[in-house]
């Protein structure tokens, strides 16, 4: 009988061992929102409840923050009589943060480029090169100084000014999803919101997640990376001109507009990835800064990183074939040598 007991215990132990993989099995969800596909995977804690709540929040944020939905809070502000509206606490706080990023980056990040972006056709996928005079007229209404935070949840815009949160909304959404996962005790997660990534807990095998950084020179190849970033907990956001562009008369025009000129930024960079620890609010910061650093160009971007204004690391890809990684990522980033970039660690 004892022998039978020992055998049964061994069987249960073996069964338990093989079931470990099942416990760590990742559940996933797909969400089509904010003009992109979002892939969420998670395990541990109340995974199912976390994924459902995250889905609901992503759809809600899409409804509230979209500039192309007439009923969104952003659209209500853009079309408000006298340019003033009560936008609610969430949107008011997000606009306030956006204005702070504009200030900190010397205007390289700007949410008031909406009419300019529309003139280029990037909002409606109706691409065109606007006339210089048209751009000059629109640029008169661009700049953080045209957005005013009022009492309570009131925000007002100067005549002719409109906002677009496209360069910060997905980052904010990643912060919201991260908070939901934490509240539900999720142990392992990857959240990919169209160029915005949040990971937590490392993978179920106890190793850091591996994040491939797309090679901007080969955007149409599914497995063409400039390198692999290993990270257990944190945010990473990439901005690049290759993500959306059109060609006219042999010249390429991409969607990241330089607030100083109204034209697609020609900064010498083809891709910028901003990386930060997984602290609350960092997803929003990474999203805003990836755009800002792309506009700034190599020298200004690295000076900004060195200034320590914000706590982040960066991966820059230059037009002349260099791959620049800030010192804090030296041990967690492995360049893909087959991509052909000259690799430099910047300090």
């Amino acid at each position: 009988m004892r022998r039978f007991g020992a055998l049964l215990a061994a069987l249960l132990l073996a069964g338990g061992l093989t079931a470990c993989g099942g416990e760590a099995e990742m559940q996933s969800a797909q969400v089509f929102a904010m003009d992109t596909v979002m892939i969420l995977t998670a395990s541990g804690g109340e995974t199912e409840a976390a994924l459902k709540a995250a889905e609901d929040e992503l759809y809600r944020l899409d409804r509230e923050l979209s500039r192309t939905r007439e009923s969104s809070a952003v659209s209500r502000l853009n079309s408000a009589p006298e340019g003033a509206a009560e936008v609610g606490e969430e949107l008011r706080d997000l606009i306030a943060r956006a204005l702070d990023f504009s200030d900190a980056t010397g205007g390289a990040f700007d949410i008031t480029l909406a009419p300019v972006s529309s003139a280029w056709g990037f909002t409606e996928d109706a691409y065109r090169v606007p006339a210089r005079e048209e751009l000059e007229e629109l640029m008169a209404h661009v700049g953080a100084e045209h957005v005013h935070l009022g009492d309570g949840t009131a925000v007002s815009l100067d005549p002719g000014t409109q906002i677009d949160l496209g360069a910060i909304a997905k980052g904010y959404a990643s912060d919201v999803v991260a908070a939901i996962c934490r509240e539900n005790g999720v142990a392992h997660s990857t959240v990919s919101l169209g160029g915005n990534v949040w990971v937590c807990g490392g993978n179920p095998e106890g190793k850091p997640w591996q994040i491939g950084i797309q090679d901007p020179a080969r955007p149409e190849e599914a497995d063409a990376y400039v390198g692999i970033l290993r990270m257990s907990d944190g945010f990473a956001v990439t901005s690049g001109g290759y993500q959306r562009y059109f060609e006219e008369d042999g010249k390429l025009y991409h969607h990241i507009i330089d607030p100083a000129t109204g034209y697609p930024a020609e900064s010498g960079l083809t891709s910028v990835t901003v990386v930060s620890e997984g602290t609350e609010g960092s997803g929003t910061m990474c999203d805003a800064l990836s755009t800002a650093l792309f506009v700034m160009g190599e020298e200004r971007a690295l000076d900004f990183w060195r200034s320590g204004t914000f706590d982040f690391e960066a991966i820059l890809v230059t037009e002349d074939g260099r791959l620049l990684v800030t010192a804090g990522l030296e041990d967690s980033f492995t360049p893909d040598e087959t991509a052909g970039y000259a690799y430099e660690v910047v300090s």
Binding site: A14, Q210, I211, P216, E220
Partner: protein, 136 residues
Amino acid sequence: MRMKWSPELHPNGWDALAAAVVVVLALVSGALLYTGGPGGGDLTAVVSVDGGETDRVDLAALTGSEERVYESRGYTLRVTFTESSAQVTASDCPTQDCVHTGAITRSGQSIVCLPARLIVELEGTGDTDGPDVVIG
């Protein structure tokens, strides 16, 4: 202090057999954990629309290339599957990003057609050297 064997705990042939079973189970469990379970190496293409799975193709079971047609949100996509790959070969969507993605060949890779809200994703344990997430 000297230990004394209890007569009831003297090992015999049955104990040796039980110990052998334990060792064998441990080895099998370890092997399953290491390889990720039975069926390792096979790829399955999962096609989903609006987040819901609509088709599943066992690539290892294919003897040649096979084209399947999917319709979603007014768009028609032709997807070609082989023993080791999946590729959107034609689509009437406006962006053509799905067609430009080319063939995917590794577990975890996916092709996304945003206008059709369709995703073709490879699942399996064949080649898991690729990253967990891709940004860009």
